[in-house]
Each structure stands twice: as C-alpha cells, then as structure tokens.
Amino acid sequence: MKNAFSYIASVIASVLLVFCILASVISVIGYTSVNEKKFKSIAASEHIDEKVCSELGRYFKERSSASGIPAEVYMNAIDSEYVSGIVDQKIDNGFHCLRGGNQSIDLSNAELDASIERFFNDYADSINYEKDEKFAKKVDAAKKNAYRVISEFSDVYKFGALEEHGVLSKVSKLYTKLDVIMTGSVAASVVLVIILLLLNLSSKSATLYWTGVSSLIAGIIGLAPTAYLLATDYFSSFSIKQPQIFTAYTSTLTMLTKTFMFASVGAAAAGIVLIIVYIIIKPKNKASAA
C-alpha cells in the first residue's frame, strides 16, 4: 500500500462502481425484458387466456342467480382465441400508456352480442313482454356489463387499475428514461474503471483487482436476494385472488428474477476472473498494488 489516499479513493470508486454495475444490469434487464413482447409471450406460454375463460365462466355462473342470465349465454360466445386477443390488446395498451400514449381496445364480439340479444328476445317472447325502449336499454346494459367484465378479467397485469389511480403515469417517467439510465450507468461504469486506473497508476494491474471486487460484490448483492426469492418460491405466497392475475404476475416476476440472477452470476464470475488475473499478474509487477 503506497498511500492511504489511493486506497480510500479506490474503495469509494469501487463502491460507486458496484452501484453502476447494478444499475447497468437492472436497466438492461428492464429495457430488454419489460416490454409487450415478453409479457405477451408469458401470457401465451402460461395459457392465461384459458384461465381468464375459466374465471369468466365461474363469474357468470355465480352471477346467474342474481342476473337471471345463464352463464352459457356469455360463455358459448367467448373462447380462448377471443380472450387471448383482448389480453394482448390490454398488454399493448398498458405499454402504450407507459410510453405516454394510449390506444383503444376493440372488445367487440358479434357472437356475444347476438347471444345476449337472442336470450333476451326469447325470454321476452316467452312471457309476452313488449319489446319497448326499456327492453332495448336492458339488452344494452347486459352487453355493456359483459364487455366490462371481460375487459376487467382480461387485464391480467392490472394496467387499468394502475392507470386509473395515476400510478402508470408515475412509472412512465422512469420507464421512458430506461435507455438513458442504461447508457448513463454503463458510461459511468467505464468512467469509474478509468478513475480506478488513474488512482492506481503505479500498479496498473490493481485496477483489475478493484474492478473485480466491485463486479464480484455487485454479483453477490444481486444473487443473494434473487436466489432467496427463487429457492423459497416466494412469489407463490402472493395472495392474489384471481388465478390469471396471479399467474401473470408471478410468472413475470419469476422470469425477471431469474434473468437478474443469471446476470448477477455473470457479474460475480467476471469479478472472480478479474481477481484471479490480478493475482496471476501481480507477482510480475514489482511495485505494490494500490
């Protein structure tokens, strides 16, 4: 150790480098994995459309005693393909909102409209009910309610609730800056490595040591919580009542956690390699490190 200043400065630079590496990893994962393509692929691979259909069937069946409309009136016109389209539209719209935009969602289902109309007409005919304006309003209300329920159940990532309460606009501020954060943190990491190099000019190989230590610690900091979350199956303990929302959230969180864990393992491995290289190189330099 030539002087205390270079050591303390290297420690501080290494601490900052740890945060920059973590920020780089998180922002890269956020940039590459938090998008509509990934979310839709999770929804497809987890067969979320089938879960939505099953929950819709259960809901309409439960409601049938109060509404008098049998679940089949709705469910004969709703299939996985239709629901899958709505789920995808909801995801697309959620990410549009995150980017500051908005797009309309097409819920229309001619078969569903016809099924509801047929049921009301048959019922009115069976009791000789006059099909007046009030009748038309009731049919319209039943259709609107059906689409509202389908829309709610298909919003498996709860973008609607998040938007309604102004949460999405807050998250949007961060999400739209992910590329800037990613570039900034990678650039800051490079700058910090250069600073470490300048601080250890008398023994340039020591830069490998400090960079390696930072990378190793960043890896461990990322690895420890993610390994815990995955080993304890933490996300399964979430108390989300609707199965399609539970599956969507837990699958996405598991995917992100696994990605972060692998990236952390990579960072830790890179750190170990750098430290080993430093140990191998160091004896060749006569000057002491740091």
Binding site: V15, V149, E152, F153, K158, L162
Partner: protein, 225 residues
C-alpha cells in the same frame, strides 16, 4: 511472509468486506422509501374490482362514475351540490403530495375502503357547508398522508364542481376521539388515516384539516342535465 507483503495483503483482503458493507448499508437505507411505495402501488393494483358483487348478498351497490377532472366550461362560485348515493364514486382528490389520484366513495364500508377513500355519509358533501370527512387506508390511498404540509393545496373534483382547499392544520388523534370528525358549522375538509405502525394496526389517527380556498361549480354541466 515479509512484513511488506503482509501489510499489502491485509488491505486487499479487507477491501471486499468494506465495500460490501458500505454497499449493503446504502442499499438498505435507500430501499426503505421505494419499498413502501411498491407496497402501496401493489396494494392499489391488486385490489380486486370485481370482488364485491354489485348486487350481492351484502346489499352494497357500488357505482363507478366517471369524474370530471378537467372542465373548460362555465363555472360559478356558488351552486348546488349533488348528494351521492351510498357506495357511489363521487369525487377524486388530487394533491401534489399524493402519488396517486384518490377516488372518493360516499359512505364508509370495508369494501369501499378497498377501492378508494370513503366519506362518512354523516358528514358534509364536498362543496356544501360543514365538515367533509374523508378517510382511507394508510397502506394504499392515504399512504402519503404524512407528506402533507401546512399550506399544501388539495383539489377535489366532483361531477358538479371543482373545490380547492389549503391544509390549515396537521392533526393526530386517538381512534376513539371524534372531535375532528363530528359535523361542524365551519366549512372544512378533514382527511385522516391510521398512523403507520410496524406492529400492526394503530389506535392513533393522523390527518389534516383543510380550509376552502376556491369553489367552481359547473353551471353548464348542470344545465345539460
């Protein structure tokens, strides 16, 4: 091992532990606020909108209304309020100290408290004379209550007008103490929630009393009706 080598080795062995300790300490401190925010967002997002059967056995009918939050038409300082029905979404609270816009339901019930803030049906309708008392859960819609400061501006949008208040007093009281939530002759807005307590629900309530600073009744909306 020579003394020189030993003196070199020790700082190098200590460095990873020092760096790790510093980083973990910084992360632990820095994560407190984001963790609370995340908990609040998750609480709001995961509230199941369809959990309460609108015509179910509880008899509670929840009415979700579109609240006018931006109005460009004619307004008047005086006007008439529209008394909402029990379980009706009738107002939205906006405030720079709050991270979310808070929907206000008329009436107080557990199901309504899961969907937003609740206004006691015994209190004054926003825009009318008296004490308008609104409460919400501290882990969701009123999570930022302790961010409110004196003179902060709070806007309450309804479908009959927009009402602006200024925080005049920060309050703290026991759940059994009703002095702040009882009807009053003075026109004011009282917002309150439970005090955050790591050991569970708290007997203490915290909140704010706000005095009205502006009323804008929508005259054209009323005419249209």
């Amino acid at each position: 091992m020579s003394n020189k080598k030993r003196s070199d080795l020790l700082p190098h062995l200590a460095a990873p532990f020092i760096i790790a300790a510093l980083c973990i300490s910084v992360i632990a401190v820095a994560m407190i606020k984001p963790y609370d925010k995340l908990k609040m967002y998750a609480g709001i997002a995961f509230m199941d909108k369809l959990k309460t059967d609108p015509e179910g056995s509880s008899g509670l009918v929840i009415r979700e209304n579109e609240i006018i939050t931006e109005h460009n038409g004619e307004t008047s300082e005086t006007g008439e309020v529209i008394r909402p029905k029990f379980g009706e979404l009738y107002a939205v609270i906006k405030c720079s100290a709050f991270d979310v816009d808070v929907p206000v339901y008329w009436g107080s019930k557990a199901e309504l408290l899961e969907k937003g803030a609740c206004q006691s049906s015994g209190s004054a309708v926003v825009g009318s004379d008296g004490n308008a008392v609104i409460s919400a859960h501290v882990d969701t819609f009123f999570a930022d209550m302790d961010n409110l400061k004196k003179d902060d501006v709070i806007t309450v949008n309804t479908n009959y007008g927009e009402f602006t208040y200024k925080v005049s007093e920060l309050i703290s009281f026991k759940s059994t103490d009703r002095k702040y939530i009882v009807p009053s002759e003075k026109t004011k807005l009282t917002l309150y929630t439970c005090k955050k307590d790591v050991l569970g629900s708290s007997d203490q309530r915290i909140g704010v009393i706000c005095e009205p600073v502006g009323s804008a009744f929508y005259t054209d909306v009323k005419e249209a009706e």
